[in-house]
């Protein structure tokens, strides 16, 4: 699956429009609603998946009815795993076990890398080449530096060749933590929710390319809210 190999039914609309003929114009209802945003990344993601009837999708965010039904009604099989929440709960349980540890028990101390490895021993456990697509909105920005490369490695393993990962990255520190649910094929709704983790860092474009280094091609969409949606193909 690639952008060039897959035929498009209609040519892409020209990105440069004649000035004076097209006004910025009123926004659509969807655009004006407070917590929704147009997601061209999602549109492209769905286009890439189109044709894979009963394709498998992995959503790494919170589970929402609309998101589940959106994919189910299109014939996909959806798996969900709220990775941020799992990571937070894992850290809390680890912290508690540390607190109950005897003083001076240095041998039992674990590094961040060991924590990341331990977390992945019980999370993101799927067969190799299993998924046609992975959704990871508001995730990688929040993972710590030790966990992120391991997660990317795992995602690469469980994704089928030609499979796509849709991820988002903030260009500035987000004001609040949001969960995402799909409204329609090109619109997502942001659900403000309690912060599960501190925003870890803002990735430069080069760094995004680096963490997806194994993937063979990429596309990035920058929204008005300065959130970058990145689509990577295995």
């Amino acid at each position: 699956m690639s952008w060039t190999a897959k035929p498009r039914l209609n040519p892409i609309a020209p990105t440069v429009k004649p000035t004076g003929t097209v006004k910025p114009g009123p926004k659509t209802l969807v655009e004006t609603a407070g917590n929704v945003r147009i997601s061209n990344g999602l549109k492209e993601f769905l286009w890439l998946l189109d044709g894979n009837s009963q394709g498998r999708i992995l959503d790494l965010g919170a589970v929402f009815q609309t998101t589940v039904m959106f994919f189910i009604e299109r014939g996909y099989r959806l798996s969900t795993e709220d990775m941020m929440r799992s990571w937070k709960e894992f850290l809390i349980s680890e912290e508690e076990s540390m607190r109950s540890m005897k003083v001076g028990n240095e041998g039992a101390r674990v590094s961040q890398g060991m924590l990341a490895g331990k977390f992945l021993d019980s999370n993101l456990q799927y067969p190799e080449d299993n998924f046609h697509g992975v959704l990871a909105w508001d995730l990688f920005d929040y993972l710590d530096a030790e966990l992120l490369p391991r997660v990317m490695e795992r995602l690469y393993t469980i994704l089928r060749p030609g499979g796509a990962v849709l991820a988002s990255f903030h260009s500035k520190t987000p004001e609040r933590f949001n969960r995402y649910k799909i409204v329609d094929g090109q619109t997502i709704e942001l659900i403000p929710s309690p912060t599960l983790a501190v925003h870890s860092r803002i990735f430069q474009n080069r760094e995004i390319l680096d963490i997806f280094g194994k993937f063979r091609s990429s596309k990035t969409f920058v929204g008005r809210d300065q959130v970058r949606e990145a689509l990577f193909l295995k």
Partner: protein
């Protein structure tokens, strides 16, 4: 002297005193090798102190109990083994093993914990379930639910706040099948509109690199990153 009408007749045998005991429910559990569930109050009364799940419609008071009267695994009770039957089942305690109520509904209350595969007509989860859910009619995951396992059902309702870690597959109504045994019936996929990039709010480029390089090979990606200079 004592007034005869002032003293209540506490020992009267003609007017029976209202009994404060709760009637015993019909025991429909058939545990194999599991401890016997002690008598518990019917669900309408048991849930008096705790709010009943929204989807659970308790029978009206005085209504004749026909086929299904809910059986209850009360809080503090732990059952291990296989639970089968035709009635409805409400779990407020813990259940481990397998639950199969082919003609009934299974409700896992907010404090209920289940470590078992559940098979029923309708499954409502408010508590915690580790295991697969197979419903021939519907599955409802409440806002406090935590499910770890696959869900196989014709209809599903997931409320905000629910946690699901596993796979969701749809089957035909009335069908309860193992995922491997039968191919789930799926709605025909509608044609997906070709993505046309909205130029007003997006920039299609390889991470702000060259506008022409929307699709990049690995080497192109590296070049693009170099060009972008970040």
């Amino acid at each position: 002297m004592w007034r005869k009408d002032a003293k209540p007749n506490t020992q009267s045998s003609n007017t029976p005193e209202p009994v404060a005991t709760t009637p015993k429910p019909v025991q429909n559990l058939a545990p194999t090798g599991a401890p016997v569930v002690p008598a518990a109050a019917p669900i309408a009364q048991t849930f008096g102190s705790t709010p009943a799940p929204a989807s659970y419609s308790a029978p009206a008071v005085g209504a004749p109990v026909t086929r299904n009267s809910a059986s209850l695994i009360g809080s503090g009770l732990k059952i291990q083994g296989e639970i089968t039957g035709d009635s409805d089942l409400v779990i407020e305690g813990e259940a481990h093993g397998r639950i199969r109520m082919v003609n009934g509904r299974v409700t896992v209350a907010a404090n209920g914990r289940v470590n078992a595969d559940i098979e029923a007509v309708e499954i409502t989860v408010e508590g915690s379930v580790q295991g697969g859910l197979k419903a021939s009619d519907r599955v409802r995951l409440g806002p406090t639910s935590q499910v770890q396992g696959s869900v196989l059902t014709p209809r599903i309702a997931i409320e905000d706040g629910a946690r699901l870690r596993g796979k969701v597959e749809m089957i035909r109504a009335g069908e309860v099948a193992t995922p491997a045994a039968k191919v789930p019936a799926v709605v025909a996929a509608p044609a997906i509109e070709k993505p046309t990039t909205n130029a007003t709010n997006t920039t299609v480029a390889a991470t702000n690199a060259s506008p022409a390089a929307s699709t990049l090979s690995a080497t192109e990606k590296a070049n693009a990153a170099r060009v972008s200079g970040d």
